[in-house]
Amino acid sequence: MWKWLHPYAKPERSYQLCQTLLPWFAVLGGLSLFVGTMWGLAFAPADYQQGDAFRIIYIHVPSAILSKSLYCTMAIAAFVGLVWQVKTAFMAMVAVAPVGAMVTFVSLITGAAWGKPMWGTWWEWDARMTSQLILLFLFVGVMSLYKSFEDAQQGGKAAGVMAMVGIINLPIIHYSVEWWNSLHQGATILKMGKPSMAPDMLWPLLLCIVSWVLVSSAIFLLRLQNEIVRREIKRPWVVELALQNSKQQAPNNMSTDRG
């Protein structure tokens, strides 16, 4: 496995891998996001108790599931970077952080919007909402620590240490907050035995979750490419790439020289 993985420590190879994977993730993600969201918002049956208000589940649940997974992704990237000194791992960590922060933010906003009709309040200091809010703070902390350093490599290492501290704390935060206060409804999909959701509602939800994974991976790949180029801007391969791109674009838009 190492033989297979090792070339990707070189930013150039990682960039090419992103380039190959990006269209797949982007197209499949966009397609499934469109189908899943339409199916969920327009065609799935309304809930007998919550009416149409439940439909926000098709945005809320995927974002909530992804927020913690993206934090784990970030921490794994940080771990790989810290242990094996892989330069591209820090770039991946930096690239995934804003995506995770955004997804967490979406889950908070949609949660608030769902809470208003169901619980009669925009915000409740409920366990899951609170731990989600703390997760957002953790993302922001890692991002702002990285931004504070002038040297990107040093900033990556520092942010990596903080991401590791955060991931160790995440379960502690989760359970302490859970113990502290809980109002949120129980898990819908992952119940022992049968899920407590009708298949008509469940399928679009699963599709939505898959599409969110694909779309955020696509955004991540794009961000990773940007990060690689930004850090390697003076390397010959980046210059060559830029020249190639400008040559390809030149016949198409001679008037607007974007190079």
Partner: protein, 221 residues
């Protein structure tokens, strides 16, 4: 004399010479707590309810203020670099730094706590619970805080960034500590909360020195 003991003595002497600076987090602690009765009104029942939380929040904030100077002076005059280069293991040095910092800037806060308990009308059972949670919990603040301080020491603008990094991580401690004091107020046992805090402390005690050492190396580049 072993270098560890020498470092311990040196840090204590340095702290003694900087008494004025050490007083500042203490004054801040007092000020924050005396703001609350002014803000929410002097009603004894209300103060008793919010008291433990207020004391703990103030303790976290003032420990953040005090933490900033943990590695700052040594970083600026270059002695930190010498410590990294020395043959003494860096995690041990980090642990000594954290210990002296706790002794010189957190312990005084704990000594002040009886006075604050009177300010906020805590009863005796609540005070004892508060004291135990402070004794167990503040070393945890110092240990975890030192990781973030070590990371930001080279930045020269630690303040707000430090708070942004550390406050979310201190939340479980805050929850367990205030819930222990609340349990004491209702005359319930609170050993479970103390056990949680002690477990977190031991965990941090085992891992934090290595994280601090790594963070110092990152900062020193």
């Amino acid at each position: 004399m072993s270098p560890i003991i020498a470092l311990f003595k040196r840090d204590l002497i340095l702290a003694y010479h900087n008494r004025a600076e050490l007083m500042q987090p203490m004054m801040f602690f007092m000020l924050v707590i005396s703001l609350f009765p002014l803000a929410v009104g002097p009603n004894a029942a209300t103060l008793k309810i919010i008291g433990p939380g207020v004391i703990w929040v103030a303790a976290i904030l003032s420990s953040l203020l005090g933490l900033e100077r943990l590695f700052r002076d040594d970083f600026q005059d270059g002695s930190l670099e010498q410590m990294i280069l020395s043959t003494t293991p860096l995690p041990a040095i980090a642990l000594v730094k954290v210990a002296t910092h706790w002794l010189t800037s957190i312990l005084p806060l704990i000594c002040l706590s009886p006075l604050l308990a009177v300010f906020l009308h805590l009863n005796e059972a609540m005070y004892w619970a508060l004291l135990v949670t402070l004794l167990l919990g503040t070393p945890l603040l110092s240990l975890i805080g030192a990781i973030a301080v070590a990371l930001t020491v080279g930045l020269n603008r630690g303040g707000v960034l430090l708070a942004l990094l550390l406050v979310p991580i201190f939340i479980p401690l805050l929850i367990f500590a205030t819930s222990a004091v609340d349990a004491a107020a209702m005359e319930l046992p609170y050993t479970a909360q103390l056990a949680f805090i002690a477990a977190m402390l031991l965990f941090a005690f085992a891992l934090a020195p290595f994280a601090i050492a790594y963070a110092l190396k990152v900062s020193q580049n």
